[in-house]
């Protein structure tokens, strides 16, 4: 299994009392709450943390994109990936992801990813995402056309990376007379494309299509949803598309905290992971998280029903119990990852070792303990340790 380290780069110095003053730390929280002096220290600390992961032998380091919020401070993940490109040598740099369809000209990102791929000698992974619902408020992009634009932007970018230019691209949302990207990407045919998602049937159907077979990455969710969505990829591959999905197409991303003992780990992580789920993550309203047309009415109803069940403060015990977070002694964390792997068979594990307000010294301890005590065992997990995939009975009949 490959193990990568993911960072959200939250504004950890946020005055947490804003939770009661504003309806969200997204879009409407005034940016006067951001102190650039503190931000300077945080950005550099976070980059150090990812560089440390690269030194300690992680297979990759990962950044991502969010806008107008305190949850993740990388409106341009390309800037962070660029800062990391020349400070690391062997590990992959994954942008998980960039919202190509949020842009009026997606080729600006295609050019930047190609530049990074050439600079790093082919270490880039490109995450293709639509962005969370609130980005559609920040950008003004119409969420009703999000899926259409996402798919069209993808076709444009892949053609720009693989077909000789110049050529004209004639789409509904994007129409350009001259597509001729310099530089071309280093990797052949192009950087691997991943599809990170909080769980969307539409995304899985698209990622699993035989023309693409992209890595589907389930972001932190309860274990049963992770299993359901990862299995859906395998199921669609088999029943609809007639091929067997390889486990290296399946990824899981989860917050992880390793302490000397189970009790110490829970004690150290508690305030910080609870801040992530109770302050940084909540959106202004469910309708802002799921703006109209962003997903089909059926998916929307499922998502809303799921969200309604989780009102109120989240406790770390609940996150551990539901498998949203992995936390404990090295032995416990190894065991939990191995058990999950046995059930779900992912070959890409993306751990978030800093979350919410977790301070630098605990983050560094977490990274070092994980790298020394957990990662070596996890990297040895292969398909032989996976119980295998069986089609659900209903679908098999």
């Amino acid at each position: 299994m490959k193990v990568m380290s993911f960072h959200l780069m939250p504004y950890a110095d946020l005055d947490l009392s804003v939770k009661d003053k504003y309806r969200s730390v997204w879009v409407v929280l005034p940016n006067t709450y951001y102190d650039p002096q503190k931000g300077h220290a945080l950005y550099n600390r976070y980059l150090d943390e990812l560089e440390l992961c690269a030194e300690l032998g992680f297979d990759g380091i990962c950044v991502n994109e969010h806008h107008q919020n305190a949850y993740g401070l990388m409106p341009s993940p390309v800037v962070m990936a660029s800062a990391l490109a020349r400070r690391t040598r062997d590990c992959r740099i994954a942008i998980l992801g960039n919202g190509f369809c949020l842009r009026e000209h997606p080729l600006t990102l295609a050019e930047e990813h190609a530049m990074l791929d050439v600079i790093t000698g082919g270490r880039v992974i490109t995450g293709f995402v639509r962005g969370v619902g609130s980005e559609y408020f920040s950008f003004g992009t119409n969420p009703v056309y999000s899926l259409e634009r996402h798919q069209e932007a993808h076709d444009l970018v892949v053609r720009a990376w693989t077909e000789p230019g110049p050529f004209a691209f004639e789409g509904k949302h994007y129409h350009f007379e001259y597509v001729n990207v310099w530089p071309r990407p280093f990797q052949k045919p192009h950087p691997p494309i991943w599809c990170p998602s909080m769980g969307s049937v539409e995304t899985i159907e698209w990622a699993a299509h035989p023309d693409r077979k992209y890595v589907y990455l389930q972001n932190y969710s309860p274990a049963e949803s992770v299993a359901r969505y990862l299995n859906l990829y395998r199921e669609l591959a088999q029943t609809r598309y007639g091929y067997e999905a390889s486990s290296d197409r399946i990824g899981w991303c989860a917050p992880v905290y390793v302490g000397e003992t189970d009790a110490k780990a829970v004690d150290e992580a508690r305030d910080h992971i609870e801040a992530l789920f109770n302050v940084f993550l909540p959106k202004i309203s469910e309708l802002m998280f799921f703006p109209p047309g962003y997903m089909s009415p059926e998916s929307l109803k499922r998502a809303l029903a799921h969200k309604r069940g989780h009102k109120g403060g989240v406790k770390i015990e609940h996150l551990i119990e539901r498998g949203i977070m992995i936390c404990g002694s090295p032995d416990t964390v190894r065991r939990r990852i191995a058990e999950s792997h046995n059930l779900m068979g992912f070959q890409e594990f993306i751990c978030m070792l800093q979350f919410g307000t977790l301070p630098g010294h605990l983050t560094e301890k977490n990274i070092r303990l994980f790298a020394a005590e957990v990662m070596p065992a996890v990297k040895t997990l292969t398909d032989r340790d996976y119980r295998g995939f069986e089609l659900p009975k209903v679908a098999a009949e």
Binding site: G140, V144, L287, P292, G293
Partner: protein, 257 residues
């Protein structure tokens, strides 16, 4: 007054409308909530007019084909529909989103139109006068904001809370976003063509409209030649529901002249 539901196919769009009454033809173009709450005003109007109340594409029982992207497409669709139904000397009444559609029709062609009545209409932007962002708030909050009378607002909020997870409410919201997300409920190019509205135009605004503030009524009055503005006291964004009698009275005076 009995209304009958009918469907016509316009370029592959199955357009559903209700029709009732007799007299000169009048088309009512609804706002973002669709016709789920039937305006009693339409029953009153049907005593003197042949009232046609369509569900816009994507709303209610009307389908939305792939070729309809924006309000301009909807305006052309209705101009086609009017022609197909053989309507002329048509009174057009539009509320909010429906007012915007009515204006987009009128700047294209008033050949078959007799008059426009625009109730708290969308369609333009007045610099420095923000409209409420209905996509940023819950349907309950939107309902409260739409009424001047807090009691009426609470009752509407209760109905909105009960409906908001229903398919129809979700579809209406998606259709509203399709037409009004960016920029929010206006067409930057509409204003420069409003001089083409050459039929009598009546603007009706609630004096306490917190969704599209009364300053928009004033702006339309300046932009549409010869238009007349009636302000309804103690009414919010839905004066035709909140002060149905006052609106019906103002409309009848205008429509009879």
């Amino acid at each position: 007054m009995a209304f009958v539901t009918q469907t016509i196919d316009i370029n592959g769009c199955k357009l559903s409308f209700r029709r009732g009454g007799r007299g000169a033809p009048l088309i009512y173009l609804h706002g973002t909530d669709g016709l789920a709450e039937w305006p009693a005003m339409l029953d009153t109007l049907a005593e003197r007019f042949d009232v046609i109340a369509p569900d816009h594409p994507g709303f209610g029982a009307s389908e939305i084909p792939g070729w309809i992207d924006d309000v301009s497409d909807v305006a052309y669709l209705y101009l086609d529909a009017i022609e197909r139904l053989g309507l002329s000397n048509l009174h057009v009444v539009g509320q909010s989103l429906g007012g915007w559609i009515a204006l987009e029709m009128a700047v294209r062609s008033t050949q078959r139109l007799r008059s426009l009545t625009l109730i708290s209409s969308a369609g333009i932007h007045v610099k420095g006068v923000p409209k409420a962002d209905i996509f940023m708030i819950d349907p309950e909050e939107q309902a409260r904001l739409a009424y001047a009378d807090p009691k009426a607002g609470d009752a509407a909020a209760e109905r909105a809370a009960a409906d908001k997870y229903q398919d129809q409410a979700i579809l209406n919201r998606i259709a509203s976003a399709r037409f009004g997300w960016q920029p929010r409920f206006f067409n930057p190019r509409l204003e420069r063509w409003l001089h083409r509205v050459n039929v009598p135009t009546h603007l009706i605004w609630g004096d306490q409209d917190r969704i599209i503030p009364p300053a928009y009524g004033e702006a339309f009055r300046r932009l549409i030649p010869g238009s007349k503005l009636t302000t309804i006291p103690n009414a919010g964004h839905l004066p035709h529901l909140e002060r149905a009698d006052a609106v019906a009275k103002a409309m009848q005076t205008f429509l009879q002249n």
